[in-house]
Amino acid sequence: MSSLRGLETPEGVPIQLELASVGDRLVAAMIDLALMNVVVLVLVIMVALSGGRGRAELAAAVIVVMFFVIRCFYFPIFELRWRGQTPGKRATKIRVISRSGGPLTAQAVVARNLLRELELFQPLAILLAPAAVAGGFPAWVGLVAGLWVLVFAVLPLVNRDHLRAGDLVGGTLVVRAPPMLLLDDLGARGPATLQFRVDQLDIYGAYELQTLEAVLRLGNSLENLPALAAVAEQIQKRIGWTSGTERVSPWVFLGTFYAAQRARLEQRLLLGERRERKRGAGSAAP
């Protein structure tokens, strides 16, 4: 969860989305390009096999049109029909959304893919066959064209949201929206066995609570035991809590403390008091 971006839905509720990494997008583009080539290849073979009986002209016409259709419409058609995804994007689990939070329109999809000609196909052509593109022009034209292409290539690397020129024009954003499991509620574990005083629960804030939650979610395994014991000891010292006669395991202590602490903080939340961090180190617990 390195790069989250806020997005306001049309319903007015902000949600956080994870930005797709440049690597993911590159891999997706590679997959799509490979797929386009495979489709063209299959098509040429099919036409070649069927066009032997004096239909060479028609076959050539079909191939020319299909080349064009695939080159211009592969991306927009998939992004429209698969709700912002192409086969490559689906494989890397990323998708295109509208930056405004509203619906992804056909115009936006067409606009963002129009610039692919400049950002992807022309650079590839210059890279693979410089003579075919810049041949016949003086060398400085080739140099300028190369620089121009370079600007487009590095654009996604130099802006915060990894927008390429097509995203700028289309008003789009490429994100990851992976499914997430709903974990057990650690606060719903039945009646508490240990008691805490209110002043003991008024020391920590939401941040510490959620850090403790992360520790607890690692589980009560053997290799996690030293960490649990260390955290439990630190909390007990901080809030001045001592076990009575019986020994309490760190796991039970932390689980119970978590539930009590959360109940206390959520009750205060209902009253409009949100405590983010623990009280300063200077004012020790009584």
Binding site: A61, V65, G84, Q107, V169, A177, L182, A188, F196, Q267
Partner: protein
């Protein structure tokens, strides 16, 4: 505090979890096998469940401190959001609306850019015409040899005339010819649109170059007294084709303008608005190029009479003018 803890978030989750799970299952199914896999009833429930999940998310942010719950609800809302707002509308009504309203309106909104595109082309044509009238040896400065295909000041009248009057070609060759022309012209049009992103400079350059070529050929045929036949040969498809090209260029200039002079908007917002225009023009002009390609490949090579060719050119011009001037106006 005694045994039973009062935790609003626990009860909140217990009450709503079932509806989240239902939404999650629906979203899973849409993402793996499409919207069509849902029944009418499930389809109707999807937006309701989505809004319920959003409201749960807002409530949870206010009352719950369970990080796992907040992360789950956020992810669920995000996934449902992309499913619901991922953009897919039924094709036929969208298609009709595009041709009846969106495209002509957008073209009208570009009338100034369109005018600039015409001016630049006319400028190129005038320059080529006047330069060639003074010194025909400069022909190769304006027209690359590959493009000229033997047409030039050194060609005989008969050669030039033969290109204009050719009409006997096998049917299949026509198909190839028009499909090639279509893809070639569309690619040029889309490139001139996309190049608008470079502040419109390459677009203006393309317009001037196009004007030069047009002016050079106009001069060549005009000087030989073949002007009437030449324009009869060019214009039946040329009206549609040049129009589409000018539209693409106009949209390209619009994008360039949005980048350089964003006005009151932020540069990003201004580009986004221009991009919408560009997308619409791109879709419409590709269809225009297709029509032009069909006229060029099939009609032109099978009808030789300049009178009929002029009539077709005139009627396509009138039809496009009426369409762009009148279609989609609110009464």
């Amino acid at each position: 505090m005694s045994g039973e803890l009062h935790m609003p978030s626990v009860r909140f989750r217990q009450e709503r979890e079932a509806s989240w799970r239902t939404l999650e299952a629906l979203v899973d199914r849409v993402q793996s096998s499409g919207l069509r896999s849902l029944s009418a009833d499930e389809l109707a429930r999807l937006p309701v469940l989505y809004r319920a999940a959003l409201s749960s998310l807002s409530v949870a942010r206010a009352i719950a401190l369970d990080a796992a719950l907040l992360a789950y609800l956020n992810a669920l809302a995000a996934r449902a959001h992309v499913v619901l707002y991922g953009g897919r509308e039924p094709f036929a009504p969208a298609f009709l609306r595009f041709w009846a309203r969106t495209f002509p309106r957008t073209v009208r909104s570009l009338r100034w850019h369109f005018g600039v595109a015409i001016l630049l082309t006319a400028l190129g044509a005038t320059v080529a015409w006047r330069e060639l009238a003074r010194d025909p040896a400069r022909w190769s400065d304006f027209i690359p040899p590959a493009y000229a295909q033997g047409r030039g000041p050194e060609a005989t009248d008969a050669d030039l005339r033969s290109v204009l009057e050719r009409k006997e070609t096998p049917r299949s060759a026509l198909i190839h010819f028009s499909s090639f022309l279509f893809t070639h012209n569309s690619t040029i049009g889309l490139a001139s649109l996309g190049l608008g992103f470079a502040a419109g400079v390459p677009t203006a350059f393309l317009l001037l170059t196009n004007g030069l070529i047009l002016g050079a050929f106009g001069w060549l045929y005009g000087a030989r007294g073949l002007g009437w036949e030449f324009w009869a040969w060019t214009l039946p498809h040329g009206v549609t084709e040049i129009w589409a090209l000018l539209l693409c260029a106009a949209a390209g200039l619009r994008v360039g303008q949005a980048l350089v002079f964003p006005g009151r908007l932020s540069r990003l917002a201004s580009l986004r608005r221009a991009g919408e225009t560009a997308g619409i023009v791109a879709l419409g002009s590709v269809a225009m190029f297709l029509i032009a390609g069909l006229i060029e490949g099939i009609f032109r090579q099978s009808v030789g009479d300049p009178g009929i060719r002029w009539a077709v050119a005139g009627s396509t011009f009138t039809l496009w003018s009426l369409y762009f001037a009148l279609a989609g106006r609110t009464p």
